[in-house]
Symmetry: C2
Subunit: 343 residues, 2 copies
DNA sequence: GATGCTTGAGTTACCCGTAACGTTTCGCTA
DNA sequence: TAGCGAAACGTTACGGGTAACTCAAGCATC
């Protein structure tokens, strides 16, 4: 039995075993508490574990067993968006309490970055993957199918997922908001967002929104700030542009709450009263929105719960429990006070 | 050469090699693009890589080389706090662009959770660790010292770090705010926070704050909502309690911006005008604070930059470049309009 | 006293890549 | 055409841990 200290001064099981005067295998059994050894042997081994500061090498364990690790890869577009931070929090808390670790990937909303990240993470033999969004590059899809590990697609509910899916129906959430605003008596409605990528949850919301508004006899003027992230300032300037171009806008729906705050701020800075002169509606129901004096009209999604649900589905699959492959986490419209009351 | 498919239907290098009619080693060289093979051989091997969908197993690579992985463990208290989400974003973006992955740990502000997480993550042979905070349990400290890998402690600047440190001096930031408020003419000042743990950045801020206020002839009435997280509602109720107990409070300093918003909301809901009747000051300068109509008086910390700096120090150490062991990222006081102007 | 069962502990093979080294092939020079 | 060196490729030996198997000793049963 070789038991020389390895280059990077890490203590290996062999060294513990030799110090305790037993074989590697016996030491392994003791460390894992697997049974099949005497009390005396266990004490001798554990004494050396403490004395040498032995830490197991999980890479070797995974390697030896030809099984997967306790890693779960989690891809998130970005953390500047509070919404995704909450989702990640829900995921990691739940995974962590069951002995799994999240390997993070910020994919910047691009499929190419996601593909690169998937390739890298798969090479670490993760137990599973949790991905934001239902659209992936062809290469990514191939790799995911071949990987043979559980995959949960979150955010955008997918009735025919790669494997499992949890989220909400974005089209419906946009539709509901459209119907609500029509019900409030608005007909000349604006939309301010950033993306025009078709493979995108925000686009689905916009489509649902337009369908409801147009079906209700209204019309939608769109203002897309391309090449921008969906935060406060694009909301501010997007509103300025929209109002400069389109006359008679009565109400504006934004891609998300952050942009809506930008728009709200622009309107009040121009002396427009909200909702008397113009209505403002956001999406996502940021936590801070609920404590500001004027409640923003928005759509609430249980972000933390969404993350937890994703982790639960992953864990269920990993422990071979039966689980549903598709879970709708639901949303609800928050009336707020930034659009006028339905008559 | 054995080349049977392994149990979990993962394609191994041996299988590629056999399919291409070369040895494992040659296949390895081709896959790594290391040179030492003919064009013809390379084409044959790569054809099989594509055909079989081979993905390298990085566990084996790490294992073979007896070196560390490309993982970097990142411990963060929680992501509900936008501040830490930004820090994490800065870290992961920078690490990711250099081929490293973040393994996340949400340690809930407790040393015990951090210790458990450190033990687990170390067993995966990470390349390094980035930890929030300068205080760790004795066991954790031992493990970190023995691990022989770079460790960056962030958030709370530490002049004698375990290894490297980047952040700000929280005492000073509290002190500056205290001096500023005194300069604005306030003397009867309140503080609302959650923690009374001494091993804590917020406590350091409070200490600095008290020193400045008391040194300037003022006094501080403290209201600590224990067992609560530092978010909106504790700010709201903490303010209610503080004002009920202490008479004549002219201005309140909060543990962070989220709590300050809660307090601001409580005050306005009670008909108190800010800053005419009462001053409000937060800490952290949340992004949303900068777009709301009334700018919150706060302390700005470059969160994203902090995360990037931590990642840079880690990467420098990993590539054996000379790097400083301590970096002060700095902060600046944001006057805002929620405290009355200095006379 | 022979047999079988338990219990404790050692042996061996293997997981998948890579470093180090050994071997073959081939073109070029003398 | 022998001799030589470099390029191309194969072989072997790890690395840390575990599954599966083997083996020996202790004990009870008939």
């Amino acid at each position: 039995m070789k038991a020389k200290p390895s280059k990077n001064n890490k203590v290996s099981l062999s060294e513990v075993a030799r110090a305790a005067g037993v074989s590697k295998m016996t030491a392994s059994r003791v460390v894992r508490g697997e049974g099949g050894y005497s009390e005396d042997t266990r004490d001798r081994v554990m004494a050396q574990v403490d004395a040498l500061g032995y830490l197991p090498n999980r890479l070797a364990t995974v390697f030896a067993g030809d099984k997967s690790s306790t890693f779960v890869g989690v891809s998130i577009p970005d953390l500047g968006n509070e919404v995704f931070a909450q989702v990640l929090e829900g995921i990691d808390r739940k995974l962590g309490s069951f002995g799994h670790q999240s390997v993070l990937g910020l994919t910047q909303h691009t499929l190419q970055e996601e593909e690169n990240w998937i390739r890298t993470v798969l090479s670490w033999q993760p137990a599973g993957l949790i991905l934001t969004g239902r659209y992936h590059s062809p290469n990514a899809t191939d790799m995911l199918k071949n990987a043979g590990i559980p995959v949960v697609e979150i955010w955008d509910l997918n009735s025919s997922p790669l494997d499992m899916s949890v989220g909400i129906n974005h089209f419906d959430s946009g539709f509901d908001m459209g119907r609500y605003l029509i019900g409030c008596g608005y007909t000349n409605i604006g939309y301010v967002g950033t993306s025009h990528d078709t493979a995108n949850a925000a686009t689905m919301r916009l489509e649902g929104f337009c369908k409801a508004v147009e079906g209700g006899g209204g019309q939608v003027a769109k203002q897309l700030c391309l090449h921008d992230t969906a935060t406060y300032y694009p909301g501010f300037y997007g509103t300025e542009q929209l109002l400069a171009v389109s006359a008679g806008i009565e109400c504006i729906f934004y891609q998300n709450d952050a942009m809506a705050f930008g728009g709200l701020n622009f309107c009040t800075s121009k002396g427009l009263r909200v909702p008397a002169d113009i209505g403002i509606a956001g999406w996502g129901n940021l936590p801070i929105a609920s404590v500001l004096p004027q409640r923003l009209t928005s759509v609430n999604v249980p972000h933390l719960k969404l993350g937890q649900a994703a982790a639960e589905m992953m864990l269920a699959r990993l422990s071979d429990e039966p689980e549903e492959s598709c879970r709708d986490i639901g949303f609800n419209l928050v009336p707020g006070s930034t659009v006028r009351r339905a008559s």
